[in-house]
């Protein structure tokens, strides 16, 4: 862990609402995208001449395109219900991290240029001109929002700060002020095929390595196929699953489940990324272009079904938007859901009894589950309401004997963001990431102390990477965080697998 050059919040037994510290994180700015990164996405390279007028023009365009945006900007009554609901406010004390204040950064400009009162009596209605100071605030605070939508659960009008933050980022991109982290990554998806920039040969090498590892461990030849034409299932998963820990342990698990279920599946170099950062920057065009890669891969390989791996916002894009972004999907087999989540698939196989599970293999753990915001509040799984909460827990309980939930104020639709979502998972924002993780860390620490929890499982690549980095700041081990399919992988006994019992029997016979 790097040394922190900022104060790490103290964890409390009960959540406390901190007194405000104006401007506490105003200076926290994510690196700005370089001209070539902007170019690749079709945005101006740097802040354009006459950016004020252009920004207002783009705002007008967005207001015309997204009715929701105008409703959200018009309907706030300043009731204050959201003020203590944002993890970034709770962790930083900066009042501009209160959802209402974050929205107001855009709302005050909207009022000035698009409402009667704001045009003629700006001071009376809190309307302001768009100037450099306002733009600086936009850049800081719209990159201190992880678009997790927790605040919208508590807003009596359902105002979605995420949508406002997406609009603000889109406006900034279009005047030439983009964020390096998101935009550089989107460029890599276009150029190489995934967020990490893993070229085909590296993917192949990594997957061959996984096949070797699983074989060494189990004696069973489990395949991790790449670009296999004519396979039934295309698995689209975040590229972090090929690269990082504990992500890769989840990928090993998906492969074992497919193997046992007798599914002919494949990964694709064209669609070697489930993530879609086009959503984080609010850019429909980029979101669509990234999504089209999945369509292209499905057609190219001739698959019948598409299943998504453990990735939070990818599941939102897939579940909620993929049909209009890259559909229609009429060339796929209509007997299966499109898209399908890997957890829906695994839960189906568990119910059918396809998997031979020895839960005791996870007995060294007491597990809790972190609901990822985009899965919890922007999608569903299975056929019943709340399936996005029950299915992951059902799968965990089917493979682990010891499961404990965290405080209900911090789970299900009230879950707290990991602190690194929405395009904030970058080292230059480490301070906001660590501080924003505070509410989750508090809830986690409570179950550690009360129930001896040893591990927290997650189903999102961002959550997994974020916790790996921030847990040590709070004195907890980075390896506490596990993939849900890692737990599945631990407990599944493959057909023909040598177990320790078999080995000791062989030793006895010898």
């Amino acid at each position: 862990m790097a040394k922190a050059d900022f104060e790490i919040p103290e964890l409390k037994e009960y959540p406390e609402i901190p007194p405000v510290q104006p401007g506490a994180t105003a200076g926290l700015k994510s690196f700005v995208a370089k001209p070539e990164m902007q170019d690749a996405l079709g945005f101006p390279g740097e802040l354009v001449d006459g950016w004020q007028e252009k920004a207002i023009e783009h705002m007008g365009e967005l207001l015309g395109k997204y009715r929701s945006l105008q409703v959200f900007l018009d309907s706030c009554v300043k009731c204050g219900a959201c003020t203590d609901k944002c993890h970034y406010y709770l962790g930083t004390s900066d009042p501009k991290n209160m959802p209402v204040a974050r929205q107001d950064l855009l709302r005050k400009v909207y009022r000035r240029y698009f409402t009667f009162a704001g045009k003629y009596f700006p001071k009376l209605v809190g309307a302001t001109d768009l100037n450099k100071e306002v733009l600086d605030d936009w850049y800081s605070y719209f990159h201190q929002c992880s678009q997790c939508r927790r605040c919208s659960v508590f807003c009596p009008y359902g105002i979605d700060t995420a949508e406002i933050s997406m609009a603000a980022r889109e406006i900034m991109d279009r005047i030439g002020l983009g964020q390096k982290y998101c935009n550089e990554i989107i460029g890599k998806v276009y150029k190489i095929g995934n967020n990490l920039g893993l070229p085909g040969p590296a993917l192949e090498d990594t997957l061959e390595g996984l096949e070797e590892d699983v074989f060494d461990e189990t004696g069973v030849e489990v395949k991790y196929p790449l670009d296999k034409k004519g396979a039934d299932v295309l698995l689209v998963t975040p590229s972090a699953d090929f690269f990082a820990e504990p992500h890769v342990d989840g990928l090993i698990g998906y492969g074992k489940v497919f193997h046992e279920a007798g599914i002919d599946w494949t990964l694709s170099t064209t669609a070697s990324e489930a993530a879609n950062f086009g959503m984080f920057i609010g850019s429909y065009e980029n979101m669509r272009k990234i999504s089209m890669r999945i369509r292209e891969a499905a057609l190219e390989l001739g698959v019948k079904r598409i299943i998504f791996g453990e990735c939070g916002h990818a599941w939102r894009v897939a579940y909620s938007f993929l049909n209009t972004l890259a559909g229609p999907w009429d060339f796929l087999d209509k007997n299966y859901p499109m898209p399908q989540h890997i957890l829906e698939f695994t839960w189906g196989e568990i119910q059918k009894g396809t998997l031979n599970i020895d839960k005791s293999l996870n007995d060294d753990m007491v597990v809790t589950f972190h609901d990822s915001c985009n899965v919890a509040r922007a999608s569903r799984m299975g056929d019943e309401p709340g399936g996005q909460f029950t299915i992951p827990r059902n799968v965990i309980k089917a493979v682990c004997n010891n499961f404990v939930d965290m405080d209900p104020d911090t789970t299900h639709e009230k879950t707290f963001c990991c602190g690194g979502g929405g395009g904030l998972l970058t080292d230059d924002l480490m301070e906001i990431r660590v501080k924003g993780a505070k509410p989750r860390m508090e809830a986690l620490r409570n179950v550690i102390e009360e129930h001896g929890v040893t591990n927290m499982a997650a189903i999102c690549a961002i959550c997994k990477a974020q916790f790996t980095k921030v847990l040590p700041y709070y004195g907890l081990g980075m390896d506490m965080i596990v993939s849900v399919h890692q737990l599945v992988s631990n407990a599944v006994i493959l057909t023909g697998q040598q177990t320790e019992e078999d080995e000791s029997k062989e030793d006895d016979a010898a």
Binding site: N195, A202, A461
Partner: protein, 110 residues
């Protein structure tokens, strides 16, 4: 911020990664490590050299698992794990060791 190695200036990006991988000389790693108050031992160099070889072949840093496996094969199983690598590179093998090796920073959800 550019860095100085043996009187020569090397451009880096805002996060301290070498701007051009082809410029790399071993002194780059030594100077970067010194800035982090780290002395590079043979164990560090084993990792740095492996990263450079892998990058040359695949145009990307190796996945954590690929790296730990290679280290395990070369230096013994007890060293083929992330704990050993974090012991050597406390800021994370993926990021800190890549920076010393002149590789670009891994991006994405990692």
């Amino acid at each position: 911020m550019p860095i100085e190695v043996d009187g020569k200036t090397f451009e880096t990006d805002e996060e301290g990664y070498l701007a051009n991988i082809n410029d790399w000389v071993p002194g780059v790693a030594t100077v970067m490590a010194a800035e982090d108050e780290l002395d590079l031992s043979d164990e560090h160099w084993d990792i740095i050299n492996f990263l450079r070889d892998y990058y040359e072949e695949y145009q990307i840093a190796p996945a954590v698992r690929v790296l730990t496996k290679a280290v395990g094969k070369k230096l013994g199983k007890d060293k083929g794990n992330s704990k050993y690598l974090y012991g050597l590179f406390p800021y994370g093998p993926g990021k800190q060791a890549c920076r010393y090796a002149g590789l670009p920073k891994p991006t994405g959800c990692v």
